[in-house]
């Protein structure tokens, strides 16, 4: 009961000294706002990254590519090795136990023509595995099939931008597209791939610009045998993300055996992810510490202003004690003032924090979203700051000697 009245007293006192209260508020608002902004950014950044990974084929994807050995003089084996070939892909599929999908890709620039539109474009020779590997499927018609592969069919699948580019508003399916002079039947258009961090730029746009023909067609067209067919790079999918290192090692082992030399590179996202996570954690931590320091400064501001005001009100404290306020009652009155200011500041700080977030998001293209959790954190921190930093002035007021207080000017 007395506690409640002390709080009401505190409210009235804050109303009376609104200017002072505003000053105290500023500190807390900035502090709480910073916490909201920093915490939100760290959470949001992680969410966006994970989403991007998922959309671009998941973190089970491993890249295998050609790489020069770096040796100045090549030994016989190195000379003999032809780099990555279709044969490697078959061997991996057969022997590697940690993986469940292999997608070899070959690419080259060729000239495309439809009616009077003629342009040089990059063409990719792929297997049916390409589609599930990249979570990229035909929107219209179909993708490359095993049959296409087996028969080295002259079929082509286009990305949405390419379809638009050559066929405009006509339906491309069933029409013939000329690639380096040879006619290919358009059998499918891919779905449109879209992902954006900032709702402005589509980071997956490059996929909409791709053109696929069966790998076998790509290779045999030049007269190579299939097994010799050079592969520009491969995607390999591991079965279990936890066994990332084993998968990578296995692939490396098999390829080394096949090539006799290490003229390839195996890259897994997972390792990258872990490294990124550590970097991010440091980044986040720094960010969050800034937010907390901000709030601490706010707390010191509150405390100082409370002390200053208390010095002004010494006479008043003396009077209250003379009419019988116990030290505890004085303590609660002053403490409740600071806590009240901090809570109000915290609430306002959440609003300000939202603006901070939006501002930073606009500048850095990093998405930021405020969750209920973050808001609660900010409020709790703000109230806690008020409590901790309000203790000292409240103690001093409660311990004031009434006689000296009444004598003061």
């Amino acid at each position: 009961m007395i506690l409640f009245e002390s709080i009401l007293d505190g409210i009235r006192d804050i109303k009376d000294h609104f200017g002072r209260t505003m000053l105290q508020l500023v500190g807390i608002i900035l502090g709480a706002g910073s916490i909201v902004a920093t915490f939100s950014l760290s959470v949001a950044g992680k969410t966006a990254s994970m989403e991007y990974y998922r959309v671009s084929g998941g973190i089970q994807k491993i890249w295998v590519s050609n790489k020069p050995t770096g040796k100045v003089t090549l030994d016989a084996k190195a000379l003999a090795s032809k780099g990555l070939t279709y044969h490697d892909a078959l061997v991996l599929k057969r022997d590697a136990k940690e993986i469940d999908l292999v997608s070899p890709v070959a690419n080259e620039n060729m000239t495309l023509r439809y009616r009077d539109i003629e342009k040089p474009r990059s063409i990719m020779g792929v297997t049916p595995a390409y589609s599930p590997m990249n979570d990229f499927h035909a929107g219209q018609g179909r993708f490359i099939t095993d049959n296409d592969l087996a028969t080295a069919a002259r079929v082509v699948v286009l990305g949405t931008e390419r379809a638009q580019e050559f066929f405009g508003s006509d339906d491309p399916i069933g029409k013939t597209l000329s690639i380096n002079g040879t006619g290919y039947l358009v059998v499918g258009i891919m779905e449109e791939k879209y992902f954006s961090f900032d709702h402005k730029r589509n980071v997956m746009r490059w996929m909409n610009r791709q053109i696929y023909i069966p790998f076998t067609t790509f290779v045999t067209r030049k007269g190579d045998t299939l097994a010799q067919g050079k592969v520009s790079f491969m995607h390999v999918r591991m079965k279990d993300v936890k066994r990332n290192q084993e998968a990578v090692d296995e692939i490396k082992g098999i390829l080394k055996r096949e090539h006799g030399t290490k003229d390839f590179d195996v890259f897994s996202r997972v390792a990258n992810l872990k490294r990124n996570e550590q970097n991010n954690q440091m980044y986040d931590m720094t960010f969050m510490i800034c937010g907390i320091i901000s709030l601490l400064v706010g707390g010191i501001v509150v405390m100082n202003i409370q002390l200053a005001s208390f010095n002004e009100r010494v006479r008043e404290v003396g009077t209250r004690k003379a009419v019988g306020a116990s030290p505890a009652q004085i303590f609660f009155q002053f403490l409740s003032e600071t806590v009240l200011v901090s809570v109000v500041g915290g609430l306002l700080g959440i609003v300000v924090g939202k603006f901070f977030c939006d501002g930073i998001a606009a500048l850095t293209r990093d998405p930021a979203a405020i969750t209920v959790g973050t808001a609660v954190y900010a409020l709790v921190f703000a109230a806690g700051t008020g409590l901790v930093f309000g203790m000292y002035p409240a103690m001093r007021a409660s311990r004031l000697n009434p006689i000296e207080a009444l004598r003061a000017e």
């Binding site: 009235r12 006479r315 009077t319 009419v323 019988g324 306020a325 116990s326 030290p327 505890a328 006689i403």
Partner: protein, 269 residues
């Protein structure tokens, strides 16, 4: 008193009954009563409402120890209107602080309305001030940003009284000093004399045992000061106990009794 003879398996009521019949047939009666007398406190003389016994106050700064009060004895009955008069430095402020439980004496006893307050803790003293003492200060000491009604309510707030009750009691107190019509005004809208009347209302609101006024007319002009003393006289006539500290003999002359302090000692009564 407590039973110190518990080792013997006694219980207080039994003891009392045994002891009260000194020539009872109980074998232990004689021994018991003798021991009991040992245990009982000294017979208490009827104490005045305010009784100060051998009060001394020393402000200790090592070599510069200042004895503000030396062995002061004061007894004030209910309903008395007393002035404590003395020159500056006589110790009258110190005496007032002790009377008002704002300070504790270095030695001596202080009985206020049946309680020994000389050695109470800060918290206990606050309670005594709240319930038994009403202050009127030279500088009024009202809260500047609260209405005079809320000012008068202040002691009740700390006593834990509910809102409705507080407001009613405060209003009644303001009526006693004739300011109920300005209950919602702030102190800075009132004259000096009116402010002092608010202070008096505040001092009365908790039905104190003692009203302590420290130079209440010090900041007022002659006429207004006289009006204030009129109010005190009226309160005294209604059986309020009032102690007024002043250096002005003219004011002191209007009280029933004067205690003169010089150099920390009572010089005459």
């Amino acid at each position: 008193m407590g039973c110190r003879l518990s080792a013997l398996g006694c219980r207080e009521p039994q003891l009392a009954s045994i002891a009260s019949t000194p020539d009872s047939r109980h074998p232990r009666a004689k021994t018991m009563s003798a021991l009991l007398q040992y245990e009982q406190p000294e017979p208490v003389a009827q104490k005045a409402l305010i009784q100060l016994d051998e009060i001394s106050k020393t402000y200790d700064s090592g070599e510069n120890a200042v004895q503000a009060l030396r062995g002061v004895d004061v007894a004030i009955e209910k309903g008395e209107f007393v002035a404590i008069i003395g020159p500056s430095g006589s110790g009258k402020s110190t005496l007032m602080h002790i009377l008002g439980c704002l300070d504790t004496p270095t030695t001596g006893k202080y009985w206020l309305d049946g309680e020994d307050v000389a050695e109470m803790s800060a918290r206990a003293l606050a309670r005594v001030r709240n319930q038994k003492i009403g202050f009127v200060f030279q500088t009024f000491n009202l809260l500047p940003r609260a209405s005079i009604l809320k000012n008068v309510e202040l002691p009740l707030l700390y006593a834990g009284v509910g809102r409705e009750e507080r407001r009613d009691a405060a209003f009644k107190a303001l009526q006693r000093v004739g300011l109920e019509k300005r209950a919602k005004h702030r102190p800075n809208e009132l004259s000096g004399g009116q402010r002092q009347r608010v202070a008096i209302a505040r001092a009365l609101v908790n039905n104190p045992s003692l009203i302590l006024a420290d130079e209440p007319t010090g900041n007022l002009d002659q006429k207004t000061g006289s009006d204030i003393i009129n109010i005190f006289e009226e309160l005294a006539a209604h059986d309020e106990t009032i102690v007024l500290v002043t250096h002005d003999p003219a004011i002191a002359a209007r009280t029933q009794r004067r205690i003169t302090l010089v150099d920390g000692e009572i010089v005459n009564e």
